[in-house]
């Protein structure tokens, strides 16, 4: 229960912090931290323009996309307190529920019959396919390390002790940050601020969405960031008490937002055809974590 509240609160400022960091890094004053939320509220009040080509799919897709992310949010725990839904193997459910949202966002892009949106949809489908193995191997290694298969139990038993475990946690954080970047179509893969439709991925998929639907999609993006942030937080706060865990939660979320802002400010987007290679690297890093876990458990030799 606690986790949902915290994630929603984090979702409120996360994207704002990214934008603010970017503007400060580029020497501008920039909008306020809550500007993205204000944008969404304004979008909710606006009317919508629908394409003549679209069908019912286009109407329901944003709803399902949003619902799937909210559902994934319900699974995420917070330290000692479980998520609302928690069972053995819930991280599989987490990944697959997110996949449903992705499925619908892809077909809704194709529903418009636009060549640009089809391009975005094609790329989204391909890249998300590459990102998922890394997540599953990462969770698999953590499951192997702790002997549990549900988010909450895994994170609860994840004690940071030896040097290897520090290294593993660092790598895991890296993998999760990168997955968050890919899932949200951020910098190394996709540039949300690009002005050319040909080089966009996520932005081009929602070209035809407007009004309430666009608001929903944006909200979903904010929540997604906060969810992955919460997962990263969970790597560290396993057995902490709540009075320490909550401030730590917000600190880590804030740090993550700032670092994403910095990455986006100082890094160029990769060439589109190198993205696939880059994402495969992620899987390799998560395999590295897996071998690290095997090393810790003494299964080598």
């Amino acid at each position: 229960m606690l986790s949902i509240l915290l994630i929603i609160i984090a979702g409120f400022f996360f994207t704002g912090v990214i934008i603010r960091t970017k503007s400060i890094a580029s020497g501008r004053k920039g909008p306020g931290i809550f500007q993205p939320i204000k944008d969404v509220v304004r979008l909710f009040k606006k009317g919508a323009v629908y394409s003549e080509t679209t069908s019912i799919i286009f109407q329901i897709a944003p709803t399902i996309y949003f619902a799937s992310v909210v559902m994934a949010m319900l699974v995420v725990p917070f330290g000692n307190s479980k998520g609302i839904i928690s069972f053995n193997g819930d991280f599989i459910f987490f990944a697959y529920v997110l996949a449903l949202g992705k499925f619908f966002s892809i077909i809704s892009a194709m529903d418009t019959g636009s060549s640009f949106e089809g391009m975005g949809a094609s790329r989204e489908a391909l890249y998300s396919m590459f990102a998922e193995p890394a997540f599953f191997v990462l969770m698999g290694s953590l499951a192997l390390l702790t002997g549990h298969t549900s988010f909450q139990e895994i994170f609860q038993d994840l004690h940071l002790g030896s040097y290897i475990s520090y290294a593993l946690t660092t790598l895991a954080t890296f993998v999760l940050v990168m997955i968050a970047m890919i899932e949200n179509s951020r910098m190394p893969i996709d540039d949300p601020k690009t002005h050319l439709e040909l080089t966009m991925i996520h932005e081009v998929m929602i070209l035809d969405n407007s009004g309430f639907d666009l608001g929903l999609i944006l909200t979903t993006g904010y929540l997604k960031f906060a969810i992955y942030g919460a997962l990263i937080v969970n790597l560290f706060i396993g057995s902490f008490d709540i009075q320490y865990a909550i401030p730590l939660f917000f600190t880590i979320q804030f740090l993550m937002a700032v670092s994403i802002g910095l990455i986006e400010s100082f890094m160029a987007r990769f060439r589109m055809n190198h993205n696939a290679q880059f994402i495969v690297v992620l899987t390799s890093v998560s395999l590295l974590i897996f071998f690290g876990v095997l090393l810790m458990l003494g299964k080598f030799i």
Binding site: V97, M110, G211, N273
Partner: protein, 676 residues
């Protein structure tokens, strides 16, 4: 009267009766017969699934010995899947075949073959005598062949049919070798002889014997590299037959593998790794090739290979669990495999029937010619969408449940595993994830291109939705797809008995899912219900808010280009372009280019690409080519001159007469050489 005998009598009566009926009644009569037999076999199967094995003994002949007919929980599970697919598929077929009523002679044969197909499938599930089993197996191959080549005026159809026929006979050869081997050693044709022989000769002999059967059954199941008949046969057959073939015919291969596991009980760990390895390859290879197909049915056929791979991964994990004595892994693996067998039968038949509807409406299966069908055929589109989501293993539908079981099995295994097996487990997890992701790419492409956007080609005829009755079986199956997704526990209860067969192999009494693993499913039910509720709430809120605001209709935003044509839409090939660039090395893309565009002023250009199976080239085409060129060297013997043929005859006759005469002399000569 006994149920088994009445089953056979009904079958014989129908075969005699159907040729004399009017065209209109042939299909209905065939369907009625199948319904009767479904009820008959269903009664026994349901009993068997609740734990009462059914045994019946025919006296047989002096060749075969006693013929046991036995329905245990495993046969019952497969018979029930069969029954359901045939009931729905037959009903769909009634309407699908209406447009072919002008060809009565084909219809007679087709309907008889259809009944025989059903009966032989049931027969294969229950017969316990190897000779009678082979007869049923051959009947299955022949009747399936006849149903496939229904549209036999097309050359491609005949080619696909013959390809299937040859490969199923290769499968029979392996079966015969296995059965003859055992019969030669034990002198009995009963299946129990297999168990006896295997337990007497444990070790390598049992493994080789099992592999013999395994090859045979995996040809039927379409495991890579024995899959090459499948992508040809499925598109050639009428849609309801493709649905049935993909739904149950290839599953009979899975049944065979499971049955042989129970009978032979080979070294489970070794066998488990072999099955796991082949299944992972099948899963990945199937889906990788599915993505680039342009023919809709071929696309679905490659997905069948992929799903057989997923089922095989389940069986592999189950075997490894048995081998290491870990019953939770074993039951999770087998439960996943058995449930996925049902699940795949469900969503794949809906997909094939939906594609059948599309074919009836548009008369094309080329994905690049379709588009925007959701506006013309909304119901077909929705049914296709649900099954497409289910086949990708995405909640809240049934595909997720079986994949979840397999994942859980894999993660359980990972916890127990040694270094080598944990690496194998992680590779399996990786490939299962990849399969899921690639399936999503494939089905977003299929659904998006066929049903969404604008029509890519204008058809002369009107495109309209098929009749509601024709859609009824699809709705029925879809209801089952949804309910398995939401209430998995209910359906897993049916699996308890079949699973007990496997988990009791090691003589350890074990009730699968006792405790932890079974309780997994309850929260899933809540999660799924909550999810659906959530979608509804968000949708209602959205509707309330959107209805207050003004919404307008405009053309799609073309980035300031104002005269887009349907041809500017993303095509299926372009959708998977970036994918096929990356994975291009794994398969061959035969591209044929005609006019390339040269010069400053555009001239008419032309480009054609055909996806081609690289494995098929290596395994089937190249050996056949070298065989033919080898045999071509003897062509001078067949030169068309009568004198030569007479000469061959005389040489033959003389040698037949002379060899016995000079036998002794020849022996002496050989002896003489030996002494030298």
């Amino acid at each position: 009267m006994n149920i088994v005998i009445s089953f056979i009598l009904v079958l014989i009566f129908a075969i005699v009766l159907i040729p004399f009926l009017r065209v209109k009644w042939k299909g209905i009569a065939a369907y009625a017969v199948i319904v009767i037999n479904v009820i008959l076999s269903g009664i026994i199967a349901i009993n068997a699934l609740s734990g009462h094995c059914y045994d019946f003994v025919f006296s047989g002949s002096f060749i075969t010995g006693l013929v046991h007919v036995r329905i245990d929980a495993l046969s019952a599970w497969f018979i029930l899947i069969l029954n359901f697919v045939f009931i729905t598929g037959g009903f769909y077929g009634l309407f699908y075949m209406k447009s072919y009523n002008a060809q009565p002679k084909y219809l007679t044969l087709h309907n008889i073959a259809f009944i025989l197909l059903y009966s032989s499938l049931v027969g294969v599930c229950v017969i316990q005598n190897s000779i009678v089993f082979l007869v049923a197996w051959e009947l299955l191959a022949l009747s399936a062949f006849i149903t496939i080549i229904f549209e036999n005026e097309k050359i491609a159809t005949i080619q696909a049919g013959i390809n299937y026929l040859i490969q199923s006979h290769i499968s029979i050869v392996f079966l015969m070798i296995g059965f003859m081997w055992v019969a030669f050693k034990t002198g009995s044709y009963d299946f129990n002889a297999l168990t006896q022989y295997a337990s007497a000769n444990n070790g390598n002999a049992a493994i080789v014997l099992f592999l013999c059967f395994f090859v045979s059954f995996s040809i039927k199941a379409g495991l890579v590299p024995f899959h090459t008949w499948l992508p040809y046969a499925h598109p050639a057959a009428p849609s309801h037959i493709s649905g049935i073939m993909s739904g149950v015919l290839i599953k009979i291969g899975i049944f065979g593998i499971l049955r042989m596991l129970l009978l032979i009980k080979p070294d489970f760990t070794t066998i488990g790794y072999i099955i796991l390895f082949m299944s992972v390859i099948s899963g990945l290879y199937g889906v990788m090739l599915a993505i680039i197909q342009h023919n809709l049915k071929k696309l679905l056929a490659y997905h069948s290979i992929e799903n057989i791979g997923i089922i095989g991964i389940g069986i592999g994990i189950g075997c490894i669990g048995l081998g290491s004595g870990n019953q939770i892994i074993a039951s999770l693996g087998f439960a996943g495999a058995l449930l996925h067998t049902l699940n795949h039968a469900l969503f794949k038949s809906v997909l094939f029937y939906a594609v059948g509807n599309v074919y009836q409406a548009t008369h094309t299966l080329n994905i690049e010619h379709l588009g925007g069908l959701i506006k013309k055929m909304p119901q077909t589109a929705m049914l296709f969408l649900i099954s497409a989501i289910a086949i990708c293993g995405i909640p809240p539908f049934n595909g997720f449940i079986s994949e979840f079981l397999i994942y859980t099995g894999l993660y359980h295994w990972l916890k127990e595993a040694s270094l080598f097996s944990s690496i194998v487990a992680v590779v399996s997890v990786l490939s299962l994830v990849m399969i899921g992701g690639l399936a999503m790419l494939c089905f977003t492409k299929a659904f998006g291109i066929i049903f969404l956007g604008n029509a890519r080609k204008t058809f002369k005829h009107e495109i309209k939705e098929v009749s509601f009755l024709q859609l009824a079986p699809l709705y029925l199956i879809t209801m089952l797809i949804v309910s398995i997704g939401i209430f998995p526990k209910l359906f897993l209860n049916f699996l308890l008995k079949p699973l007990e067969l496997f988990t009791n192999i090691n003589q350890i009494k074990f009730i699968p899912f006792q405790g932890k693993a079974f309780e997994i499913m309850q929260p899933i039910t809540w999660a799924m219900l909550g999810f659906i509720l959530l979608i509804f709430i968000v949708y209602i809120v959205r509707k309330a808010i959107v209805s207050k605001n003004i919404s307008t209709l405009q053309p799609t935003w073309g980035c300031a280009y104002i005269a887009p044509t349907p041809k500017l839409q993303y095509t299926a090939s372009s959708f998977v372009k970036s994918y096929s660039k990356i994975f291009g090395m794994f398969f061959l893309m035969n591209s044929k280019k005609d006019n390339e565009v040269h010069g400053i002023f555009p001239i008419k250009g032309h480009l054609e690409t055909h996806p081609y199976d690289k494995l098929e080239k290596w395994i089937i085409d190249n050996p056949i080519r070298s065989y033919r060129s080898f045999m071509g060297r003897f062509l001078f013997l067949q030169n068309g001159k009568l004198q030569f043929y007479l000469l061959y005859g005389i040489v033959f006759i003389i040698s037949v007469i002379c060899i016995p005469l000079f036998y002794e002399k020849i022996c002496m000569l050989i002896d003489f050489f030996k002494r030298l």
